[in-house]
Structures are given as structure tokens and as C-alpha cells.
């Protein structure tokens, strides 16, 4: 590869990283404001105009906090765990195409790569809970493990329909194949993927590993300062990742009339992010066993049936 290509790729990575960090910071701000509106209050509106500097203030506070680790933790794993979560999500973003021309890598196995990384991401949470050597984080970590196993599977299976329709694992190819957005052709796949996505990033009603009312924050109880912020960052980047995957896989990615590609992509993605906010303010949390039941008894069969139907209809069509 030429020097120019390397330069472009590196530049793209830096841009992507910076863009993601800023986006996530403002996602937190947006979530707080949106939730506040849902709940008849104002939300953060003190720092800067409309409180727009709130993310900056939060970041500064978290960065300057004492980096305290309790004496009873397994130090190495404890330090490593918070890095894993945002790392895997960031790596996944490499294959997400923002537009026809804006993507870092177009792997021919992009979809498998994303699923593989999201499975790795859970290690951050499990190890965080385990290495804390404390009971609440341990329970949170165990819950995370059970939850991930139950929801990875239907999540992957939900995408088989998409792959069958597009005939490729590459995200760019999948978008290009969507003359009709796949949400129309794959409504069940979309629903299953969406639900599993919410579970994947531990958001209400599937925020069991955290469950502040039961586990007092669960897996991250013993974390503070920047280490805690990394978990948090990972969670919000996860939300963004799931939203962009939904956009790419089901909503036709960057494709749309009149507006520029990137704008379409952003519009679609943030609509899905808004769904996450909306869910959070509307529903209570499921119980551990109900969550498992739901995953294995409803999501998994639904995904399997979806595959069969897609296959049968597909063959009949051809």
C-alpha cells in the first residue's frame, strides 16, 4: 500500500476517534435533556448556553478525580477490564460505513467481525465484576455473562436474513443491496436485532448487570474516576454502534433522497438512539430469569423462524 493510503487511513482513524468521543459526550448530554423533557424537568442547563458545556465539565471532573482502587481488587485485571469495553466498540466502528465513500475498512466478513468483537466486549464487564473481589460487582458480572450468552445468539441469527438478502457480509455491500430498506423485508429480524441490541449494551429494560436499586451499580460498584468513565464511555459508544448497525443493516444506511449521504446516516442513527432514550424513561427492569426466558423462548425461536421463512420465500422468489 502506498504512503498516501496509510496517511488517509491514519487520518481517518484519528478523525473517527475524535468524532466518536465528541458524539458520545453529547449523547450523554442529549440523553439527560431528553429524559428531563420526558419527566417534566429541565435537565442540565447551567454549564454554558443551554448547558451545552456540560459534557466538557463532566469530562474534566472525571479526568481530575483521584484514581482510587480498593486494596482488595485483583489489580491487573481490574485495570484492564475498563479498557476492553470501549476498545472493542471502537474497533467495531472501523467497518461501519458512514456514506458511500466514508469508511475505514470494508471487510468481506465485516458482520462476523462486529459480532465477534461485541462478544469480546462482555469480557470487560465480567472481568470488571470478577476482579473487584466484591459481592455486588460479582453478581453484576455473572448477570452480564448470562445475559450476553442469551442475547448474542438470537442477535447473530437475526442477521442471517439480512445476509441472505444481500448475499454478502460486507456492510458496504449490504447497504448497496438495500434498494428497499431491509426493515420492510425483514421486520422480524429488525425487531429481534433491536431488542437484542438493547440487551447487548445493558440498557433498560435489560440493565440487569447494573441494576442500581438491587446491586448498587453492579459490575462497576468498585470503580471510580476515569476507570468508571471508560465503562460509561463504552456503554454509550455501544448504543451508538447498535444504532448505526440498525441503520446500516435495516434502514438503508446512508441512502436517501435529496440530503447528503452522511446527513441521512446521522438522521437515521440518532432516531434509533432516541428510541434508546425513550425506552429508558418508559419501562421498568426485567428480572434475571424473565430476561433469560425472553431470550431463549421468544427471541431465539423468532430468529430461527425468520431464517426459515426468508429462505423459503427467497427460493420461491428466484
Amino acid at each position: 500500500m502506498s504512503f498516501g493510503h496509510w496517511f488517509l487511513t491514519l487520518g481517518g482513524m484519528v478523525l473517527m476517534l475524535g468524532g466518536l468521543l465528541v458524539t458520545v459526550a453529547f449523547m450523554v448530554y442529549a440523553e439527560r435533556r431528553v429524559l428531563a423533557l420526558f419527566q417534566d424537568r429541565l435537565g442540565p442547563n447551567r454549564a454554558g448556553p443551554l448547558g451545552l458545556l456540560q459534557p466538557l465539565a463532566d469530562a474534566l471532573k472525571l479526568l481530575t478525580k483521584e484514581s482510587f482502587a480498593p486494596p482488595f481488587v485483583d489489580r491487573m485485571v481490574y485495570e484492564l477490564a475498563p479498557v476492553i469495553v470501549p476498545l472493542t466498540v471502537l474497533m467495531s466502528f472501523a467497518v461501519v460505513p458512514l456514506s458511500d465513500a466514508w469508511w475505514l475498512a470494508d471487510l468481506n466478513v465485516a458482520l462476523l467481525y462486529v459480532l465477534a468483537l461485541s462478544s469480546l466486549g462482555v469480557y470487560g464487564i465480567i472481568l470488571g465484576g470478577w476482579s473487584s473481589n466484591s459481592k455486588y460487582p460479582l453478581l453484576g458480572g455473572l448477570r452480564a455473562a448470562a445475559q450476553m450468552i442469551s442475547y448474542e445468539l438470537p442477535m447473530g441469527l437475526a442477521l442471517v436474513g439480512v445476509v441472505m438478502l444481500a448475499g454478502s457480509f460486507s456492510l458496504v455491500d449490504i447497504v448497496n443491496a438495500q434498494d428497499v430498506p431491509f426493515i420492510v423485508l425483514q421486520p422480524v429480524g429488525f425487531l429481534v436485532f433491536m431488542v437484542c441490541g438493547v440487551a447487548e449494551v445493558n440498557r433498560l429494560p435489560f440493565d440487569l448487570p447494573e441494576a442500581e436499586n438491587e446491586l448498587a451499580s453492579g459490575y462497576n460498584t468498585e470503580y471510580g474516576g476515569m476507570r468508571f468513565a471508560l465503562f460509561y464511555l463504552g456503554e454509550y459508544m455501544g448504543v451508538l454502534l447498535i444504532a448505526s448497525l440498525v441503520t446500516v443493516l435495516f434502514l438503508g444506511g446512508w441512502r436517501g433522497p435529496w440530503l447528503p449521504d452522511v446527513v441521512w446516516f446521522a438522521l437515521k442513527t440518532f432516531s434509533v438512539v432516541f428510541l434508546f432514550y425513550w425506552l429508558r424513561t418508559s419501562v421498568p427492569r426485567l428480572r434475571y430469569d424473565q430476561l433469560m426466558d425472553f431470550g431463549w423462548k421468544i427471541m431465539l425461536p423468532a430468529a430461527l423462524v425468520n431464517i426459515v421463512i426468508t429462505a423459503v420465500v427467497g427460493i420461491a422468489w428466484m
Binding site: Q39, D207, A216, T281, P284, Y288
Partner: protein
Amino acid sequence: MSLSEELQSRFQAQATSLPKDAVETYHIPKDQLTPALRFLKHESDPAYDMLFDLSAVDEAARGDGLTVFYHLLSFSANRVLRLYVSLPAVQPIIPTACEIWPVANWYERELYDMFGVDIVGHPNLRRILMPDYWEGHPLRKDHPNRATEMEPYRLPDERYRRILESVQADDDTESGAGEGEMILNIGPNHPGTHGILRLIVQLEGEEIQDVRPDIGFHHRGAEKMAERQTYHTYIPYTDRIDYLAGAQNELPYVLAVEHLAGITAPPRAQVTRVMLCELFRIASHLVWIASFGHDVGAMAPPFFAFRERERLFDVVELITGGRMHPAFFRIGGVALDLPDGWREAVNNFIKRMPKAVEEYESLLTRNPIFRARTRGIGTLTTEQAIEWGVSGPNLRACGLPWDLRKIKPYSGYDEYDFDVPTAHEGDALARTEVRLAEIRQSLRIVEQAMARMPKGPILAKEARYALPRKDRALQDIETLIHHFIAVGWGMTFPPGESLFITEAPKGMNGYFVVSDGTPHPYRLRIRTPSFPHVQCVPIIARGHMLSDLIVILGSLDYVLADLDR
């Protein structure tokens, strides 16, 4: 044979002359206590199903020894019965009632803690409200009443270390936890306990094997404080017992004292009291909706419920000047007449409330996840509930329409038209439905109280027992003298005892006032609904998941101040 004859012939009980509160009272010898209690629960007619309360009076300041009292409640006859047992001051011993009523367990521990009475046969006789290392028994008359009467507090390192060791939750390896089990210490500070309550939970996976509640962190000695307050200056303290239901605590207290004095509040004061009490019932339920919703993991209910609560407190503030703690009721009436504009304020509030209740329903009882989380969780049967002293919405959720406002009306509740909501499942969902329905009924009562608000005085005429009005005190010398004596020294009330039970938002709330004719209550016993409710948590939590424990705790609706007093 009538009940009193049978008690007298079989158990050598001695009936006393009817006390001020018209509760049948018997003195019973200690050795006859257990058979008599058993008889009263199982054989007598009417049967006394519930052990309502159990505590003691230290007679040291007016006689000798201790008097332990039992308040029994008969659901079939709607009647209360009081038993007195006299004990010596030194080494008092009494047999346990735990085998007859399991609810006696904590009451007897409290008796031991507060009075040093040794309970023979008690399964777990330890201090309950005071810490294990406390010296002395606080409700004894010889125990100092204020910190200034005590030695300066010292805590040497060695002693501190021993104390810390004693409260350490057992480690998994050396406790009762078996193979694969884990001891989880929840609290005293934990978002799910709504205050400083500690639960030591034995878990297998996430399944609860056992729960051991540890209470007393919120104990402020409310009963002891009463003994050096005058009858009137104690009113603000009652607000802080169940601090979410302000005036609801004042009501049983002032009613008990009014019974003692034989006075009644004039109609305008009665209706004002009812109106405020129902507003506070709504306030208490609103906080419950907020915290219970949050326990289940929903984020919005706290904000929605506290929004209405703020509006409600604005109304309360307009009328009483206070918000959470109005201290508005007086013995024989209320403190102030209603202010200008009260009608519009109350009206505005109750107009918008039904829509808010709709919102709560759509967020809670109509939400499928909420229903799945609460249905079949923490189920109590009616028999269990009575056995464990459960009352209020928790009892009504089991199907028993037991509401003292209907069944034993006070303050003119019989003149209002309202229903007693019940449910039948006895689980957390049923409790939610009952409480939401109760808000609607309270709104009806407030509306009727507003409509009928009679004109007239707000304080009883009897100058001996009713606080003189300050404005009049500045006009004529007679009132001034009364005011000076009543406020500076305190009013005296006739000797005797008086129990009054009201239907508080959380259940049956009983104030038992013992007077010896001085300006201070000789003994004030506060029986709160939260105490038995928390006691039955282990029974209904076993076998559920850890998340359900939080739901169960929330659904029972206790307040720590009400629990520990």
C-alpha cells in the same frame, strides 16, 4: 359464660374499671399469661386474632415494678382487649408469646431492649433498636433522658474494634451459609432499602435462602422524648414518626389525649383534620409510588409522583405553614383557622390529581413488565397477614376490607361516602392496585370535606384542656394566665390510660398514652405499622430472587422513622 367471667374464673384475671378509652382491661398473673393468651386467640368468643402491640410501663416513678401490657385485636368483634402483667423491677421475667403469635418476636425483643425484661423461651433474645453494646435499658425511668445527664461519651480504640467486629456480616466460610451459598450484606446504606435498614441475605445463586433484618439505625427515642415533653409540645415530634404522612401521626395522638381529657374537637376542626389527613394519605402514597416504581427499575414514576407531591405540599403550606411536618393539630382542635383562598388551592389540586393517577397506572399497573415483576411476588395470605400483624393496604390487598375509617369510624369518617378498595392476590401487584385506588378514594373524601366544611370554632371550649388562643391572651387577663400556665408549665391531663388506633396510610397506627396527672405523659407507646411489616419480610422473601427482595421491601411500604421511632 361471658369472656370476662371466663377470664376471671379460669385465669384469675382481674377486670379493672373501664379506662378512658373504653378498652376492656384485665390484670393477669404472670403464670397464667401463656394459657390466657392461647385461650384468647383460639378458644374465646370473640377470638382475638391479632397481637396488636406489646410493651411495658416502668412504674418506678409512681409505684413499684413494671407493668407489661398486651393489646389484642379481634377482627370478628371489632374490639380491643388489654392485658396487664405486673413484674418486679429487679430481674423481671415473662414467658414468650412467640409460639402463639410470631409477630411477638420483635415486640418482645424491644421489650427486652427497652426495659430489660427477660423473655423466657424467646428464640432470639437480643437488643433490637439499641446497639448490642448499649448500657442500660432506655425506657426505664432511671435511664437518663438527655445526653447532658450522661457521662461524656468515650470510645477507646479497643472497644471500637470490638464493636466493629460485632456488626461485621458473617463471612461466607464461617457462617450458616452452606456449600455454594453466599452472604450478601444489603445496607444500612443501599438504594433499595429506602433508608438505613440492614438486611443480611443468604443467597444461593440469586435465590434467597434467608433474610435477617437488622433494624434500629433510625431510632431516635421518640417514646422516651415524650416523657419530658408536655402534651402539646410533643405534637411536632409525632410528625416525624412516619415523616411521609405528617398530620396522620398527629391524629391518633391528639385523639388519644382528647379521650383522656374527655373532650371532642368542634365540627370545623374535625373536618379540617379529615381533609388534611387525607391529603397526607395521598402524599404518603405518592412517595410510595415514586420509590416503588424506582425499585422495579422504572425511572419516570419518581418524577411524576414528586411533581404532584410538590403541588400538594403547596396546599398544605398554605393551610398549615408547614410542608412535611405541619404540627397543625392541637388537643381539642387545630391550630389555626383555614386561610383565605384555601378552597381554590385544594380544589386545584384535586382537579388535576385524577389525571396524574391515570399516568401512574399507565406507568405501573398497566405496564406488562411491571406486572410480570410484581405478580405473585411477596404473596401474603389473610391468615398470615393477621398472624404477622400486617395492616393497612397490605392487609386489604389480601382481600380483607379492614379499614378503621369504615369499621371503627373516628373524627366523623362515618359521614363521608367512600369505598374501601381491596384486592385478593395479596402480592405486590395487588398492593399497588389497592394504593392507587386509595388515592382516588382519598380525593373523594377531601372533596366532601371541602363541600361540607362547617362554620364555627376550631378549638374545644374546655379551657382546661384546650390551648388558649394567643390573640385572646393579649386581650384579657384570664386567658393570659391560662396561656402562661399552659405554655410555660404545661397542661395537666387526668390520670389514666388511653389507646387510640387510626388508619394511617401504612396501616394501623396506635398511640397509647399513660398519664399520671402531671404535665408530661408518664409513658407514650407508639405502635407503628412499619414494625410488623418489616418483620415479616423474611417469611415472604424466602425462595424468591434477589431482585424480588427489593420489590417485596418496596411493596410493603415502610418508612425507617416509622420502623425505629
